[in-house]
């Protein structure tokens, strides 16, 4: 496994082909649970686990499954994985399980997962499929966390409220309250805030991409204009 390929996969998942920001897949959970940082992180981790496991299994069975039945088999793999994860969350992360509620089983319907199974895992080796799942999951988680933090700060004036749901009671002190008597910007917590926030993130990403493109093109021109012979 060439390290260049790994680096490429990670870059794709985190930035260039980010499931949340570029492919715009899995928007339903993305918009619904990101009212706080911790909710976003929780669903992100669950989704990443699903992606890693389903990608690995799909890659493992890619030579056994004929194309006629591949979609039902992928659905079976993903649904079993998600159900297992849901049971585990209910056993050891009960508060988080309660908070995320219906959005855990709904991971099954996150198109990003079957999308990676079909577009990548079914055509690549197991280690590559594993890394692709990890990178795509991390990219998705990053968007959930950033959006969740944005909405929580604006809507409630806190960060990491409910951290104990994920990290146990010791993490209660993690909560940062930015201002004691902040009354909250209600729109940020309500569904429209999710759309506005995501739109903002998309815009910021596009601006950064444009800047990087511009810089890349000026760097290419640079040696030509400053060629020592040009001065004479």
């Amino acid at each position: 496994m060439a390290s260049a390929t790994v680096r490429h996969l990670i870059k794709e998942g985190l930035w260039k082909n980010n499931p949340g920001l570029v492919q715009l897949l899995g928007l339903c959970p993305l918009l619904a649970v990101t009212a706080t940082t911790v909710n976003g992180l929780g669903l992100g981790i669950a989704t990443t686990l699903t992606l890693i496991i389903s990608n690995t299994i799909v890659s493992l069975i890619r030579n056994v499954v004929t194309s006629a039945i591949r979609i039902p088999v992928y659905v079976l793999v993903i649904a079993s994985t998600v159900t297992a994860i849901e049971l585990i969350l209910g056993a050891w992360f009960y508060d988080l399980y309660k908070t995320l509620g219906i959005f855990i089983p709904l991971i099954v319907t996150n198109c990003a997962i079957i999308g990676r199974a079909e577009a990548f895992a079914s055509k690549n080796t197991i280690p590559l499929a594993f890394i692709d799942g990890l990178a795509m999951g991390a990219g998705f988680t990053a968007v959930l966390v950033v959006l969740g933090t944005m909405r929580e700060v604006l809507g409630r004036g806190t960060i990491f409220s409910g951290a104990h749901m994920l990290f146990g009671d010791a993490a209660r002190d993690l909560q940062i309250t930015l201002s004691g008597d902040y009354s909250g910007f209600l729109v940020a917590i309500l569904p429209p805030g999710a759309f506005l926030g995501l739109g903002l993130l998309l815009a910021i990403k596009n601006i950064i991409d444009k800047r990087m493109e511009k810089r890349a093109s000026t760097v290419r021109e640079f040696p030509v204009t400053f060629h020592p012979a040009a001065g004479k």
């Binding site: 039945i69 079976l76 079993s80 209910g90 009354s183």
Partner: protein
């Protein structure tokens, strides 16, 4: 012939995957069952011990419960009473009840009352009220719900058991009256019921014994 074989093998593979998936889920279900049931019980006990201090009772409060069927409570939802006893003598009760007509749906409450009819604590278990407005009833959002502790019928007098807008003693929230009004009224109804049915509550047999937790 070849076609037939292909169909058969494809069906077989699909069937095997179905079995494997079901097997995985069944195994995980079996492995996590005890931990999941323990989590549910622990979460319930934690809530109960918020409204009834653990040091005032010594019985298994989760098991010592009855289901109340009375017009004082909404017939659409189950109202469960957990009974706290010390050395066999009743000391307090916790009502798990639902107020059906919240602003955005039912509100589930846990109401703790000691044997003298004083509130030992009230908490909202579940609600869908508007974030930033009606969700002030949550203990995490505001101190409002703590205001019930120590109150009883008579303190304040029955006529003042209402939100301030209705001439009572309890605050409403800016922009949200329906939610606090409903909570105050439900607590009041529960206290009145407790007052008149105290003997029944602590002596009633447990009809739901053996029923599985859900």
């Amino acid at each position: 012939m070849n076609m037939k074989r292909q169909v058969l093998s494809t069906t077989l593979i699909l069937g095997l995957f179905g079995l494997a998936g079901a097997g995985l889920v069944a195994t995980v279900e079996w492995l996590t069952r005890d931990a999941r049931e323990a989590s549910i019980v622990a979460a319930r006990l934690k809530n109960l011990h918020i409204v009834i201090p653990p040091q005032i009772h010594d019985n298994d409060i989760l098991a010592d419960r009855i289901v109340i069927d009375d017009p004082a409570f909404s017939p659409r939802f189950k109202t469960i009473v957990y009974r706290a006893r010390k050395n066999g003598r009743p000391v307090a009760a916790a009502f798990e009840t639902t107020a059906p007509e919240g602003y955005a749906g039912p509100i589930r409450l846990l109401i703790g009352v000691d044997i003298d009819g004083r509130l030992t604590g009230v908490r909202v278990l579940e609600h869908r009220e508007t974030p930033g407005l009606g969700d002030g009833i949550e203990a995490d959002r505001s101190d409002w719900i703590f205001g019930f502790t120590g109150k009883s019928i008579g303190n304040p007098p029955l006529s003042r058991w209402a939100v301030k807008k209705d001439g009572g003693d309890f605050d409403q929230f800016t922009g949200a009256t329906i939610t606090p009004r409903l909570v105050v009224n439900t607590v009041k109804k529960t206290l009145l019921y407790f007052d008149t049915h105290k003997d029944y509550i602590f002596s009633a047999e447990q009809p739901d014994h053996g029923e599985r937790d859900s």
